[in-house]
């Protein structure tokens, strides 16, 4: 951990030296400030309350390359499978942290689907207004990302516009024969009464360890609508730390779906800050993992103002010696009356070795609110399985059908048919069955 910290420190100096004129900018002042914060905090350990169930040490141990060599060998055929089929989309592709214009499909027609670096160069007003304004200051890994924030997606949907196609973000890691760490940084601004759907994936094409430390800031302005889906299905040498923070303004509606099937290690820090009244927030998650995998979901819904609605549903299926963590915090501030906040986390452990640490955390300081939470950990229902078998459904298919049904309602907010189909297929694959219908 110390080695990586030292390496980041020297890398940060390299970054500063390469900035030239930009070194005096507001953005860079924020980078520097974030890096100082990180140096003070250090990497979180299990002594840190928010990390008590997750040991980062092994993830931080490899000798990661911080500035990978540029790789121009990736072709569309290598990554085609990561995109939705039968669905036209805008695409932003980054290879080892570097934007790949020939693999991407961007636009500036009525709205911007382009790169973070482009935004820094061209839209100083945007960076001044939004950069590093949503992520909490006390998250060390988000601070590292902010310090190294150079490239990623910039999506801005202008007032009253509905994006005509979903946007797919794909971050590919390739570095041949060397471990790499990347720091993708995304900024999404959905302006007043605008609407967009975004799908984000991180995929390693490398056999070596990959650590992606990504951060996304999202601003959903008044009456805007955003659907944001994260597909976490990377290979078993890839680790992902995702810090996503969302600020919601009056009447906006934001849905984030996090679908975790792959990776060696995933940590999601997902924060919703409700800045104005009458917002709607939904957080859905499906986690299906097995041997050697860890997925840690930390969510926060911060009800700062009255009359907001939030609904969170996370489902987990853990096989082999998989390890799951769910820490869902809902904060209702003293004057946030008429808050409606719901949360549920349901888990199935398929073996004795699989584990889930689940911690629903509701802090309610207002008295006129409707809040509920529920958390369950169970095994498959033997009675239901026997019932299915007496109808001729074999044990394996019966189990899969039950698990499928268990997980399925967390797909409630997936509105793109092509994505629904893909997720259904991925769930079926993970459960090792071929069911011929969509639930």
């Amino acid at each position: 951990m110390e080695a990586l910290k030292d390496k980041l420190e020297s890398s940060f100096l390299v970054l500063e030296n390469e900035l030239n004129g930009e070194a005096q900018s507001t953005v860079h002042a924020l980078r520097r400030e974030a890096f100082q914060r990180f140096l003070q905090m250090g990497f979180p350990t299990k002594r840190h309350e928010e990390w008590r169930y997750t040991n980062l040490k092994p993830i931080l141990k490899p000798d990661y390359r911080i500035f990978p060599k540029e790789d121009t060998s990736v072709e569309f055929k290598d990554i085609k499978r990561f995109f939705l089929s039968d669905q036209d989309t805008y695409k932003l592709v980054f290879v080892d942290g570097v934007y790949s214009s020939w693999l991407s499909e961007t636009t500036h027609q009525g709205f911007d689907v382009c790169t973070f670096s482009n935004m820094l160069n061209k839209y100083k007003d945007v960076s001044d207004e939004y950069f590093a304004k949503a992520l909490p200051k006390d998250e060390a890994l988000a601070a590292v990302n902010t310090a190294f924030a150079k490239e990623g997606a910039f999506i801005r949907i202008k007032k009253n516009i509905t994006a005509d196609k979903p946007v797919e973000l794909l971050f590919v890691s390739t570095d041949h024969g060397h471990e790499i760490m990347t720091q993708p940084r995304n900024l999404v601004v959905v302006e007043e009464n605008a609407e967009v759907t975004i799908i984000e994936r991180h995929q390693s094409l490398s056999e070596s360890a990959v650590l992606t430390n990504t951060a996304t800031e999202i601003f959903a302005l008044r009456s805007s609508r955003l659907n944001y889906y994260k597909i976490q299905n990377d290979n078993d040498t890839a680790s992902l730390i995702d810090s996503t923070s969302i600020k919601q303004y009056r009447n906006s509606s934001v849905n984030v779906g996090t679908f975790s099937f792959g990776n060696k290690f995933v940590r999601n820090n997902l924060n919703f800050f409700l800045e104005e009244e009458h917002t709607e927030s939904t957080l859905d998650g499906i986690t299906i993992i097995s041997d050697g995998q860890t997925v840690d979901h930390h969510t926060l819904v911060d009800h700062k103002v009255p009359n907001c609605f939030s609904d969170e549903m996370y489902k987990g299926i853990y096989d082999g010696n998989a390890k799951g963590i769910f820490n869902g915090k809902v904060m209702v501030h003293p004057h946030a009356q008429k808050t409606n906040a719901f949360q549920q986390n349901n888990n199935v452990l398929l073996t004795d070795k699989a584990s889930i640490d689940t911690k629903p955390q509701l802090e309610i300081y207002a008295d006129d609110v409707k809040c509920s939470h529920g958390c369950t950990i169970g095994q498959l229902d033997d009675d239901a399985l026997f019932y299915m078998m007496t109808r001729g459904i074999p044990e394996k298919e019966g189990k899969a059908l039950l698990l499928y049904a268990f997980a399925n309602n967390a797909l409630r907010n997936v509105k793109i048919p092509a994505l629904r189909k893909r997720l259904n297929k991925q769930i079926a694959n993970k459960l090792n069955v071929n069911l011929d219908f969509e639930l």
């Binding site: 239901a384 019932y387 299915m388 007496t390 109808r391 459904i393 074999p394 298919e397 059908l401 268990f406």
Partner: protein, 250 residues
């Protein structure tokens, strides 16, 4: 069709069935009656293949084949159907998808192609009419939030769709009001043919006014203590089970 010989079954260390003998031929309806705890539901579970029970002696043959090594799904593939006393709620699986999966898994096991969707739909409509089921029913989650009557109707609807050779109806009358009882019994009677057989397990004689048995057996302490025709059921109704318990104790 079904031949049970000297069947003993345990759950844990406890012996529940203590030597059952029963033969059911195609076209017959058998009623098994008995007081609570006599082993009625155990018998139906053991025939259907529930793994919680251990068969310690005797055997069950179905169409000349010993069932003991077959799992519950394989028994269903052979044509055995159990209507549950307490049908299980399965949220997230609709009635349609459940039945479709069941039918096609059975067809797969029998080496047949999946049933074309239009034929399946036609059959569903027909059987729904038989049981006076509304079509909205099909898209509901299986048994989830169903009333007692709806659950039982759903069981018989599944029976109608799967068309088993042997159907075991475990306490199908419990939780039914008189109208639902009439509809369910009517459905069962229409499904009855010379080729299939039905075992009706019930505590009360009431159901047997509608589904008229050829044979009535009384189960007590894991044994069939008396067999007769339908008049035995009436006798039990008026006299209760105590006289049989006394007789058995002798």
């Amino acid at each position: 069709m079904l031949k049970i010989t000297n069947l003993h079954a345990n759950i844990g260390d406890k012996e529940i069935l203590k030597g059952i003998n029963l033969e059911v031929k195609p076209g017959e309806i058998h009623a098994i009656m008995g007081p609570n705890g006599s082993g009625k539901s155990t018998l139906s579970s053991v025939i259907a293949g529930r793994e919680d029970y251990e068969i310690t002696a005797g055997h069950i043959d179905f169409e000349g084949e010993d069932l003991s090594d077959l799992d519950a799904d394989e028994r269903a593939h052979k044509g055995i159907f159990l209507s549950f006393q307490y049908p299980v709620e399965i949220p997230g699986v609709t009635v349609t998808n459940f039945i479709k999966t069941a039918i096609n898994e059975i067809r797969k096991a029998r080496g047949q192609e999946p049933m074309p969707a239009n034929i399946m739909l036609k059959q569903m409509r027909e059987k729904m009419g038989l049981l006076e089921i509304d079509s909205a029913f099909l898209s509901r989650s299986l048994n989830t939030g169903f009333s007692g009557g709806e659950k039982k109707r759903n069981e018989i609807f599944q029976m109608a769709m799967l068309d088993p050779k042997l159907a075991i109806l475990d306490e199908t009358d419990s939780g039914l009001d008189i109208d639902a009882l009439r509809i369910v019994s009517n459905g069962v009677n229409k499904l009855k043919s010379e080729k299939n057989a039905i075992i009706v397990i019930t505590h009360y004689q009431r159901l047997l006014d509608y589904i008229v048995p050829d044979f009535v057996h009384v189960l007590h302490q894991g044994r069939i203590v008396k067999s007769g025709d339908k008049s035995l059921a009436h006798e039990l109704e008026s006299k209760g089970y105590d006289w049989l318990k006394e007789e058995a104790a002798l």
